[in-house]
Symmetry: C2
Subunit: 502 residues, 2 copies
């Protein structure tokens, strides 16, 4: 076999292990019996170790060096060049971690995710804390092995959004906060507060499921290449473009949680379902970064899904499923779903204060890794920051520090992606409006597929072939610019809260 | 590491790959999206190849030889001795198959299982036939590699029921047929035919699900260590004793299909859930043979689940879920569920003619491997044998040769296990009645757990530690004896059909 073929084979096998592990994780989170979990986490550990061994083999290292040599490189297709580049990054990162440490990390986080689910349910932070401490310790060991960038936390950040730094984020998040806080204050002062009472009432769960399915179909989610299930914490996982799975949770007394959760995960799923066929079976066959991935979920959830034209198209169908909405007109429903209200739970937060939830997590994660904050102090710091930034105090840890799955999975450095996603989404929308001037007329007509096609052509099909900054530059002709998000929010809430009158 | 530790580690990893693969198969059969299947079967192929490499490594071969040496062997615990014996058998069998051939077989059968599901639905044997031919060809290659025993088919038979031969089965099945055919004729001639009209009417599927769950709980199925899902062809899979999964299918106009299907798979599941904790993580942690496994599913389904005392205990609950049964008394229901009626579909056959369905498959499998029968001729031979043995003609292949999943998975030699299971079950019941004289009073009181405990103590806990013949001899004090099944059926049907009057 030639070096390229050998390399492609190894890469395909790594991707296959990723898929097998993704099925095992999906299974753990969608109903695997509790008593089997100990054994299952050992299985995950062994498979991860095998994948890791392949990702760090001397053979792979030698092949990469060979493929990177000038005469071979120039003969490679653009796809193979991207694949070699991506593999080199991953190889250099992985090879620094001893296999035993990696396996320990994998087993620990699998255990912690299961434990977290129970602890959140039982509002029991104390039982969760030792596991979190271990995850922090092991993550610190890994930071040392990877090498500390500008700060310890920079090392983590770079893994989710390549090139992003604490210095940049401090600046961007500072900017956002400085502009969003006065906007939030104006909103709070407005006499035109939307009604929301009608959102909290009994909503038949079977009808919610049917509506979730309907909306996904409208968006262009392909049910022959994916499925919709239930889990405590909604998530999306792309096993391959022909099998992309999302979950949601249905609250019997709140229709919006499942609805917008489904659209959000649907956005992630559409990205994964529409990656180009030539990338299938390679490690390029996934979203290019967490920030771009979140831009897609939040684009569909907020920019499209919480827009007036969207509900002009789909409110009638919702009313037909839930007779209790018959007396609520579309505008009241639209405004109720865009209420700004500082609250406890990130995944239920409005588009504006959502960014403050992220800033809190960002600051806490910086404290953990740059200042040595320990797990035992997290509930206190968490609650203090919620009081300071949002003016609310969690009544318990389940609604506080235990609300997110991320830390139990070791995903420190992930949270900023959500706000980056908001910013990318607003910037993409600005370009879409210029290139497709009738885009909102299309939404209003219930014709969402041209939007899916626009995104597929510019983003989805490339998988990891293009970096986040390349995508943003190519699509919008400028780098990431948080001002688009600020302008988008100002315009939206000026209308909803009639701020020009305030 | 000492040889024993090294061996145990390899064995555990093999078991872990088995569990991962079992999850992937379960997933494929319980709702994995169609468009992802091609990629998924490649994933299964790679993982199977890796497991196979570990099962056939020179290192394992050397360790086995070392552990089998006299001085080491005598120091091993009984568990380790069993594990070495079992591994030796598996190693000797696996090492004869070249890895590339094995991987080809795994991918082929995974594809064929998916294809079978579609072809059965669409009554399309022609599209399935080329895959079946390939499976037969590759199975023949493997028989040559393993070595032909008394006949080619003997080689396959031995893998599901160690020690069983065509000569023995020809004798046993001949015996059975000679005694069951006249019994079936007497039954057909009886004027006391049970009513069955009430079984085919609308039965709410949600209520069927609830009742299936209720019955499993009564049997002692542990829902914290298992789950119940839906699939086209019901099956049970033991991932580990803490995670044993069964599926059933709910027909909207027939309550018995899901009911007895669930009890059947529940019997398999109880076996797997109650294997001793010390066997977890070893390849001994599963049922000892397909025949013994089927003895448990069919014991619970037929001997217990289709008995009069069982329905004395549970019929009231069934009536409360299905008001349309209010006017049907218990005895009518009991007799209706034990009607003997030669029919087309094996999994819906009665206890008596079921064995004729098995004999047909046994004879066809012998023809394929001992006489070179080809896939293209299977529908014809199938239909001829159904006419000859059961007096019925399949109207199409979906209800004929395409009805079972087994051949698509390459499971030639498995079918006889079902009838062996019937015979083992009747023999075990005979002993249980002697050792627990009030067993039927317990069933009638809805107290099934003593039966589960009796089976756990004698069968379940041992996993693969004891061979089928050891178990039967130890429990019943004699070898397998088909006469118990014949006597059981005679007694049961003499009562139901009042044969003493005929």
């Amino acid at each position: 076999m030639k070096p390229l073929e050998q390399f492609r084979l190894i890469n395909t096998e790594i991707k296959q292990y990723e898929e097998a592990l993704a099925v095992l994780y999906w299974d753990l989170r969608t109903g695997a019996p509790r008593k089997g979990m100990d054994t299952r986490t050992q299985v995950i550990g062994t498979l991860s170790a095998e994948m890791f061994a392949r990702s760090t083999s001397q053979q792979l290292g030698a092949l990469l060096t060979e493929l990177e040599s000038e005469e071979v490189w120039s003969e490679l297709s653009p796809l193979d060049q991207s694949l070699v580049k991506e593999s080199r990054l991953d190889y250099d990162r992985s090879v620094k971690i001893p296999p035993a440490l990696y396996q320990q990390y994998v087993i620990l986080t699998a255990q912690a995710e299961s434990k977290w689910e129970i602890c959140k349910e039982e509002n029991d932070y104390e039982s969760f804390q030792p596991l979190l401490d271990q995850i922090i310790t092991i993550t610190n060991e890994m930071i040392d092995l990877w090498g500390v960038k500008a700060s310890r936390y920079d090392t983590l950040l770079d893994q989710y959004e390549p090139g992003m730094t604490v210095a940049q984020l401090d600046h961007i998040f500072g900017d956002l906060r400085d502009q969003l806080v006065p906007l939030a204050e104006k909103i709070a002062a407005s006499p035109h507060q939307p009604r929301t009472d009608f959102l909290q009432q009994g909503f038949d769960v079977e009808q919610q499921k049917a509506y979730s399915k309907f909306i996904l179909e409208q968006m262009g989610f392909d049910f022959e290449a994916g499925r919709l299930d239930e889990s405590v914490h909604p998530f999306a996982t792309g096993l391959n473009p022909g099998d992309v799975r999302i979950t949601t949770r249905y609250l019997p007394n709140d229709v919006t949680s499942a609805l917008f959760g489904t659209i959000h995960e649907g956005g992630h799923a559409m990205y994964e379902q529409n990656i180009g066929a030539e990338l299938i079976g390679t490690t390029l066959c996934t979203g290019t970064s967490m920030g771009i991935h979140e831009s897609q979920s939040r684009f569909w959830e907020n920019v499209i899904g919480r827009s007036r034209p969207f509900w002009n198209a789909y409110y009638e169908e919702l009313q037909s499923k839930f007779p209790q909405l018959a007396s609520i007109d579309m505008d009241t429903f639209y405004r109720g779903n865009n209420v700004v209200n500082p609250s406890l739970i990130r995944i239920e937060a409005d588009e504006l204060t959502y960014n403050l939830h992220i800033i809190i997590r960002y600051e806490i994660e910086k404290m953990i890794f740059n200042e040595g904050l320990q797990a035992k102090d997290l509930p206190r710091v968490w609650n203090e920051k919620y009081e300071q930034y949002l003016g609310v105090t969690p009544p318990n840890n389940a609604e506080g520090v235990l609300q997110d799955v991320h830390w139990s999975g070791g995903a420190f450095g992930y949270f900023p992606s959500y706000s980056l996603g908001n910013m990318y989404a607003a910037q993409f929308m600005n370009t879409l409006e210029q290139q497709m001037p009738d885009v909102w007329a299309k939404v209003e007509a219930g014709d969402l597929h041209p939007i899916k096609d626009w995104l597929t052509e510019r983003i989805y099909q490339y998988g990891k072939m293009k970096s986040p900054s390349e995508l943003v530059q190519e699509i919008t002709n400028e780098p990431l610019n948080p001002q688009y998000l600020v302008e988008y929010l100002k315009e939206k809430y000026t209308d909803i809260y009639r701020l020009e009158e305030v």
